[in-house]
Amino acid sequence: MVQEILRVRDVKKYFGGVMAVDGASFSVEEQTIRGLIGANGAGKTTLFNLITGYYKLDSGKIFFRDERVDQLPTFKKALIGMVRTFQLTKALSRMTVLENLLLGPKMQGGEQIHNIFLRPKKVAYEEAIIVEKALEILEFFDLMHMKDDYAGALSGGQKRLLEMARALMTDPKMLLLDEPFAGVNPTLARKLVGRIKELRERGMTFLIIEHDIPLITEVSDTLSFMNHGRIILEGPPEDVKHDPRVLDAYLGGGP
C-alpha cells in the first residue's frame, strides 16, 4: 500500500491582486520522485514557499505524513524531515564551502552552548563524523577542491550544487528541489539524476521543480503540470509532456 507523505489541499496565495497559487491540490507518495513543471510565473516557487513555511497560506491545508503542518514554522518542518533548496541560490558567502555543509545536520550537540563547555569530547566526536560525511558529499558533487574556499567564490552552477549538497547533509525524508539542474553541466546533471534515484531507493522522497523537460522526464516517477496557480495535470512523465496544454505552455508562449 502506497503511503502519502505530502498532501496539499486547495492552497491559495495572493500577492495584492496576483493569484500566485490559486487552489493547488496534489499529493506525493512516499519514496517516489515527483516532477513539477509549468511556465515561468505559474506559481511553482510560491508553492514551495508555502509548503516549507516561508509564506503563510491565505487558505488551504498541508499535511506531512498525516500531520497538519501549514501552521508550523519553517525550521520545525525541516526537523520533521522536509527540506528545500532555493531557486535563487543562497550560498552562505562568508563561510567556507565545507562550513556550509557542516551546518546541515540537524540537532547537533555543539549547537547548544552548555554542551560546548560541558561535553567537549562528545561535540568533537560528533563534528568529526559530520566532517567525514561532508567530505564524502563534496567529493560526489565535484566540490572537494573548493572545500576551504568561501562559498561566495563559487560559480553559479557550483552554488546550485552546494544548495543540494547542504540539504542532503540534513538526511531529509523529503527533499524539495527548486530547479536543481539549472546551470549544471550535463554530465554532472546525469550523475545527480542517478544519485537522486539511488536516494529514492533508500527511502527518500523528492519534489523537483525543473524546466529541463528531458531531464525531469528521466528522473520523475510522476509529473505534475502547474498553470496559473493550479495543478491541472498529473501522470506518467511521457503522457504529461505530450499533453497539448503542456506543449502550449512551453512552446506556444502562453495562452
Partner: protein, 297 residues
Amino acid sequence: MIDYLVAISIIVGIFAIFAIGLNLEWGFTGLINFGHVGFLAIGAYTTVLMNLSGAPIWLSMTSGVVLAGFFGLLVGIPTLRLREDYLAIVTIGFSEIVRLFLLNEEWLTRGPMGLFGFDRPFEAMIPFDYNYFLFILVFGSLAVIYLLVEKLVHSPWGRVLKSIREDEDVPAALGKDVFRYKIQALMIGSAIAGLAGAFLAFNMQYISPRNFIPMETFYAWIIVVLGGSARNKGTILGAIIVQSFYTGTRYLQDYVPLASHQMAALRIMVIGLLLVLLMMYKPQGLLGRKEELTLGQ
C-alpha cells in the same frame, strides 16, 4: 608615567570587553544593535545600586551582568522575529529610555548628581595602588571573555550564528531555530556589556547618566569596524587605537587654542575622517579579510 599607562590601559580593556560584546552581535550574528550603551548602563548602575544598598560587591557585579543579559532578552523578544532594521530602531530607543530613566528617577539614582561611595572588589585588601589591581582584574576578564567568545564562535553554535548573518533563510531551511540563536547572541553580548559597565564604575568611582550617552555605542561600533568585524583580535586592536587617539587628543588640549567642546567636536570630525580613509583603503578593517569583500551573495 607607568601609572598613566596603567590608567589608559584600564580604559582600553573596558572598551575592548564592551566592543567584543557588540562584535558577537554584529560581527558574527549580523544583529544591528545601536543601543549597546544601554546594557553598559544597566551593568554599571545595577552593580553600584546593589552595593550601595548593602549587597557584597561580587554579588552586585554578578547581578549587573545577569540583569544586562536579561534586558537583552526583553529587547530581543519583540524585535528579533522581525527583519533586522527593527532591532536597530528599538535598541537606540531602548538605550535612551535607560539613560532618561537614570536621569529622572532621582529617588533611585540621584539623577544627574550621579552615584559614588561604593565598594570596589578587594579594595580594602590591596596593599598597593588599587589601579594596578584593577588593571589585572580588567585584563584577566578580557582574556577570559576573549577565550570564551572565541570558543563559542568556532563551535557548531557559532556556525549557526554566522549562517544567520549571511542569510537567515538558510539555517531556517536546515532546521535551526533562528530566533533562539539571535536571542542568545543578544543576551550574551548584553551581559558582556554589563560586565564592562561594572568595570567602568570601578574605574571612575563615580557614575552618572552622562557616562551613557549614545556616543558610547558608536565608539564600540568604530572599534569593531576599525578592527574588522568578526575578528575579536581586531576588536582589541581597535579598542587600543580608538582609546589612544581619544586620550592623545585630550593631551593635545593643552597645546591648541580651542575650548573643550570645540576640541570634542574636532575629535569626532577627525574620527570621521579616519573612518572615511579606512573605508577607502582598508574597508575590511585592520584585521579583516579582504577576500570577503569581493564575494557576491
